[in-house]
Amino acid sequence: MIDQETYKQFKIVGKVLTDHRYNTSHSGNISMRAGGKILIKRRGAMLGFLEPEDIIETDLYQADSGIMLSSTETDVHRQIYLNTDAMAVIHAHNPFCVILSLIEDEITCLDAEGIYMYRKIPIIEVDNPAGPTDAAREVPKVLKNYPIAVVRAHGVFAKGNTLYDALQNVTGAEQSAMFRYYTMLTGKPLKRDYSEEKHFSEW
């Protein structure tokens, strides 16, 4: 069973994601590395109301019988850990990120916080956006160089040193996407396009 302190982190992060309406009642998953293992949300559990037995332990390097309980996207998390510097991973269905992924090839941040944190948020195209197989192959490639990426029409995968760190990337990216979306909605030209000045295309 998981220790109380770790459980508390999962519970808080799960609740924030649900309260922000980044997920449906049961979707989304969060995990952290822990001593050669992955601690990950249980499949079918409600992210906003996690209990200690909803945090499942599974092997970091290969599938084990924990797969019977762990999140559907466990393989994506595992590949992110094995191929990037991630210590924690969050997958959420951020609405504004998903909306922009339907019409753009990357999300260029317009707000100062977003520019400071991300500059641009890559969008990944996969054949089967709802399935973990393609995402497990493609998402780690992008997260090697970015803290967060969006799988088109699906949702974001964010990494961090801790769960809270990854949470900040999820919420920060969503806020930048929201600013961009509403700005686009006005139909008016930007007074100043920070993204152009910072050579975002090379970022």
Partner: protein, 602 residues
């Protein structure tokens, strides 16, 4: 004739050696689909009250369903219905492999075997396509273990056939014997092997006929199959867990929830260093040579194993548990060899292990004086299995199953059974909905007729509180009805982890070329389940039999994640009877029977 079915039953009376073919009424297929439902309907229509299950009056009904042999994933299954010599209840069982699709291609839906061959004239049945049926001499096969019998039959009939076969246990009328389906799959539970043995019938061999599976809209069916396979590939249980570790993937999972029974359910949690010895991972690492699947299955949960000394199939989760930790044994090689031996003798691994465990506890308590029956005694396990199959020494008592054994030695409370059938590998104190299913299942303690562990533990499709009471009856009602439908279509329950029940309705609608809704199917499932109940009531079963051993009601577990829990069965049952529309004595009401177009059985 409806699409998907042949509408023919093949009836064989072994006493008279009369073989006839009859049409199946279309209304029966509409109301009962096929498989379990069809078998239950034909069985209850024909079998008189209180027959001896081991007499010629008992009937073995093997039947396929509308999805059997189709492109729907995991559609290789077929069903058996009979009266159990272990429980005296009506009994249904289903098995995978390839026999079902082969039989369907012969042009029949149902094989109905009654009567018995004379004891000096043992035989086997050959179905070599439509209207090519023969009862053949099996005197040279009688007494052979199943693997040897398969080899000998294949020498005669060729390798392109599928074989159901009993071993020495079935021949010796052991009440916990099974009917093996090829070398490794089985109609495992309820002592159905003894029913076949009582008929002096060693095997049923089927060669594939040439009847094609007719579907009006093949393209639509193909698209649905692709959609279904995409889903199966997404869900980790079906795409990875079962393929990599087999059903033994559950060992550590169930232990984690404090539900993995040890030493005849005296405990339900094992420390990690010990559980690792018998986990799915250990089986994979030490002995797995490859995995295999049934007809049209992409999950491929079957284990092909090699211990270095012997090769064979399995063990699966329940077998590994029953022959291992249930008897206090954690040596994987011993367990694997014991599993091979059960397959070879044609024994139900669950009931065999659990009955031995019961004997061990009787011995522990001083009620049974038998030195070999000691928990954790690796040395004697295989020897005991052989003695059970051959009914030798203490084996003749164990061969009767745990309830009869415990009664003989004045220790009935040590038999972990319901209605005479041994409880599988999930301690009911850790999942109350699952506990209720054990109590009310029509065939005795059964994990397959309403597998609430899926929701209560595996969170599939969604997690529910495993210790809550309110609403569990409703969920069980739904799951039992769904399960009756799956057993009637016939498909493997494992696809249910990936595909919603709506997929079964869609597959069936396309195959029958008729719109069938989920609600229609649930009603069919309810009809099947209720008819089973009516049969058991006629045979004298009352609500008193909807119970659990005292241990689960009074003795809380001392360790693990289900610590301090006992099953609140009374509360669960009260609600369940209401949900089922049964009266307080567990008898279906007139109103229910009218709605389901059923009549009480005379």
């Amino acid at each position: 004739m409806p699409y998907g079915m042949n509408s023919k039953v093949l009836k064989i009376n072994l006493s008279s050696e009369k073989i006839v073919e009859e049409d199946i009424d279309e209304e029966i297929l509409e109301n009962y689909l096929g498989g379990r439902g069809l078998g239950i309907k034909l069985f209850t229509d024909s079998v008189p009250k209180n027959i001896d299950p081991l007499s010629g009056e008992n009937v073995l009904i093997f039947s396929i369903g509308p999805l059997t042999g189709s492109v729907a994933p995991t559609s290789g299954r077929f069903s058996l219905v009979t009266k159990s010599p272990l429980t005296n209840t009506i009994f249904h069982s289903n098995s995978g492999g390839f026999w079902g699709p082969f039989f369907k291609k012969c042009g029949y839906d149902c094989l109905n075997i009654t009567g018995k061959l004379s004891s000096d004239n043992e035989g086997y049945l050959l179905i070599d396509g439509y209207d090519k049926i023969e009862i053949k001499d099996a005197k040279n096969l009688w007494g052979l273990k199943t693997s040897d019998a398969l080899t000998e039959i294949q020498k005669i009939e060729g390798k392109n056939c599928q074989i159901l076969c009993i071993g020495p246990a079935g021949e010796n009328l052991v009440r916990i014997s099974s009917i093996m389906n090829q070398a490794n799959r089985a109609f495992g539970r309820g002592g159905v092997g003894a029913v076949m043995g009582s008929k002096n019938l060693k095997a049923i061999v089927v060669k594939s006929g040439n009847k094609e599976f007719e579907v009006k809209n093949k393209e639509h069916l193909k698209k649905l199959r692709i959609n279904a396979i995409d889903k199966i590939k997404v869900v980790p249980i079906t795409s990875q867990g079962l393929a990599l570790f087999g059903t033994a993937a559950l060992v550590k999972v169930i232990n984690q929830f404090g539900m993995f029974p040890v030493k005849n359910f005296q405990a339900a949690y094992t420390e990690s260093n010990k559980i690792d010895l018998v986990s799915g991972e250990a089986l994979r690492e030490k002995y797995l040579e490859g995995n295999e699947g049934c007809y049209n299955c992409i999950i491929r949960c079957g284990r092909m194993t090699n211990t270095g000394e012997k090769k064979g199939k399995g063990p699966e989760y329940e077998s590994l548990w029953a022959l291992g930790p249930s008897t206090g044994i954690f040596d994987l090689k011993t367990i694997t060899h014991a599993n091979y031996l059960c397959n070879d003798y044609g024994l139900d691994t669950i009931s065999t292990g659990s009955t031995i465990a019961c004997g061990m506890e009787l011995s522990q308590c001083g009620l049974l004086n038998e030195s070999s029956l000691k928990f954790g005694n690796n040395e004697v396990l295989c020897d005991l299995i052989e003695k059970i199959a051959l009914k030798q020494e203490i084996g003749s008592d164990l061969a009767e199953g745990s309830l009869r054994l415990s009664k003989k030695y004045n220790g009935e409370s040590y038999a972990m059974q319901v209605k005479g059938m041994e409880i599988p590998a999930y301690d009911p104190r850790g999942a109350f909905g699952h506990a209720l299913n054990y109590a009310v299942s029509s065939r005795g303690a059964c994990h397959l007729t309403g597998f609430l562990v899926a929701l209560e533990v595996l969170g599939a499709p969604k997690k529910i509180d495993r210790f809550s009471v309110r609403g569990k009856s409703d969920l069980l009602y739904l799951k039992q009805n769904q399960s009756a439908v799956e057993d009637s279509l016939v498909v493997c329950k494992f696809v249910g982890y990936a595909l919603g029940f709506e997929f079964q309705a869609r597959f069936l609608s396309i195959i029958l070329d008729k719109k069938i809704s989920i609600t229609d199917l649930i009603t069919i499932g309810e009809r099947i389940f209720t008819l089973e109940r009516l049969f058991n009531i006629r045979e004298g079963f009352s609500s008193k039999k909807d119970s659990l051993p005292k241990r689960f009601l009074e003795n809380p577990l001392q360790e693990g994640a289900s610590k301090n829990r006992v099953v609140p069965l009374k509360d669960l049952l009260q609600e369940y009877y209401k949900v089922r529309n049964w009266n307080e004595n567990g008898i279906p009401t007139d109103e229910l029977l009218e709605r389901l177009s059923l009549k009480r059985l005379d």
